[in-house]
């Protein structure tokens, strides 16, 4: 074989490196968490909607945190980058679990693998191949806490086995996301308070369900100027009672008028249904 000119050799090596680099860095492991970039995109279609995200898999015993990490911890972040023209929606958060850290410090997050993904809309002029990068950063804790991050890249659509695996990551994903309550599914009322414009009060939130809800968990997601503590949830028949201490922190520019919560029902078979509810504070 004739020796290749040096410039051609360099391009071939660079291209190989690029291809290998993209394939290798669709998955990474850092600080007790495995991260991999996934998408359910199969056939690029102009104007079509698909999903891109990162699956985070904590090692057994470790957890990462929800959008509201609770009394301590750090919100997990996933930043997606796609070429110009692609519209990236908000990151969607599957229903978390609640854990209690020593001292009774409440945490909300994920111990099992979690897919954090966003909907993406392709532009009218979408090409055949689509380079995507995802930067994920998290705090992973067990008895100690470690910061972790991963920078992942791939060309979509993912082909072959990894493509199949990536698409299967989305099976059941939508069911794990909170959805708005259907008409008549549950009604919400609040007693206690009043909650001052700045200051705290004990509030009781009543959820009246159309059907017995099974086990009910409540995950508050207060904005910056609002503190929510001491959430106690009990259900009986079709009624759930949630006692909590709300505190509108002084000095915030716009006192919060609602408290968003995610309410999760678990049926007899262990299936979780998550609802997005807004609690009126005034």
């Amino acid at each position: 074989m004739l020796p290749l000119p040096r410039c051609v050799k360099r391009i071939r090596i660079a291209t190989a490196g690029l291809v290998l680099g993209l394939a290798v860095s669709a998955a990474a492991e850092d600080s007790h968490v495995r991260a991999r970039l996934v998408s359910d995109l199969e056939t690029p279609t102009p104007g079509a909607t698909f999903r891109v995200g990162v699956v985070l898999e904590p090692e057994p015993g470790w957890h990462v945190y929800w959008r509201n990490p609770g009394g301590a911890g750090l919100t997990t972040e996933v930043d997606l980058e796609l070429p110009a023209g692609y519209g990236i929606g908000d990151l969607e958060w599957p229903a978390p679990v609640r854990f209690t850290q020593p001292g009774g410090i409440i945490g909300y997050g994920y111990k099992e693998p979690v897919l954090l993904a966003a909907e993406v809309r392709a532009p009218a002029h979408a090409g055949a191949a689509l380079p995507v990068t995802a930067k994920a950063s998290w705090l992973a804790c067990k008895d100690v806490c470690v910061l972790g991050s991963a920078e992942l890249a791939a060309e979509l659509p993912l082909a072959g086995e990894s493509g199949e695996a990536a698409r299967s990551a989305f099976a059941g994903w939508r069911d794990r996301l909170p959805r708005p309550a259907r008409p008549g599914e549950v009604s919400v009322s609040v007693t206690g308070g009043p909650l001052p414009v700045s200051g705290s009060a004990e509030l009781t939130v009543w959820l009246s369900w159309a059907e017995p809800p099974g086990a009910v968990e409540v995950f508050p997601d207060p904005g910056r100027g609002l503190k929510v503590e001491d959430v106690r949830t009990r259900s009986r028949d079709t009624l759930t009672r949630i006692d909590l201490t709300a505190n509108r922190l002084a000095g915030s520019s716009r006192p919060a008028s609602t408290l968003p919560v995610v309410v999760v029902r678990t049926d007899g078979e262990g299936r979780r249904t998550a609802l997005d509810l807004d609690i009126d504070l005034d």
Binding site: G71, I106, S189, R232, A250, G251
Partner: protein, 198 residues
């Protein structure tokens, strides 16, 4: 409409759970809980002896990445030095259950910390203050009232340029020292959970 019969069936009392949140904690606007702790060199420090002084209390865990970043960046040192000149007393409390006085002393030596690291291994003072994270910051005015509780700044990831970051503790100290009310007296603290005993 909520069925009032079902509501009435609910007990009004709830089971008491020993949580940090349920404890009184250090409440902004109220007297700071008093305490006496030994520092890592064995000297006793009592909050009550510091009446008349503005005091900062910083919750520490050298194993926590947020604390490690701040000490790498010199955040606490810079603040302590700057405000010591203005008479502010800086106290660091280590409520990490597995760290004794020697461990805190070793940290003080490595970091060249010349202010007291108070050893709170059983977590009693942490619980009294409702310390949830490391770092978790409290500012107490000369009358012994808590005037700030929460995060050291609004940048948990340490990703903001200094010009875009709000340094809550520095701001509170400036306001207290100027005799002004603290504009942002409470924020949600960030960091690892305080490592109390299980």
């Amino acid at each position: 409409m909520t069925p009032s019969i079902l509501r009435a069936v609910f007990l009004t009392a709830t089971t008491a759970v020993a949580t940090i949140a349920a404890a009184a904690g250090a409440v902004v606007g109220e007297p700071a809980p008093g305490f006496t702790l030994s520092d890592s060199a064995g000297h006793e420090v009592s909050l009550g002896d510091l009446k008349g002084k503005v005091v900062v209390i910083e919750w520490l865990n050298p194993d926590c990445p947020f604390v490690q970043r701040h000490y790498r960046e010199g955040t606490m040192k810079r603040l302590e030095t700057a405000y010591a000149d203005r008479g502010v007393v800086w106290l660091t409390v280590n409520s990490t259950h597995y760290m004794d006085a020697k461990a805190s002393a070793a940290f003080a030596e490595t970091q060249k910390i010349d202010w007291p690291i108070l050893v709170d291994q059983d977590g009693a003072v942490g619980r009294a203050y409702g310390a949830q994270t490391t770092p978790h910051m409290f500012v107490i005015d000369g009358k012994g009232t808590v005037v700030y509780a929460g995060a050291i700044d609004d940048d948990p990831r340490g990703s903001k340029p200094a010009s875009e970051r709000t340094d809550y503790v520095a701001k509170a100290l400036d306001e207290v020292l100027a005799g002004k009310p603290v504009a942002t007296p409470e924020t949600k603290p960030y960091g690892c959970s305080v490592k109390y005993a299980k």
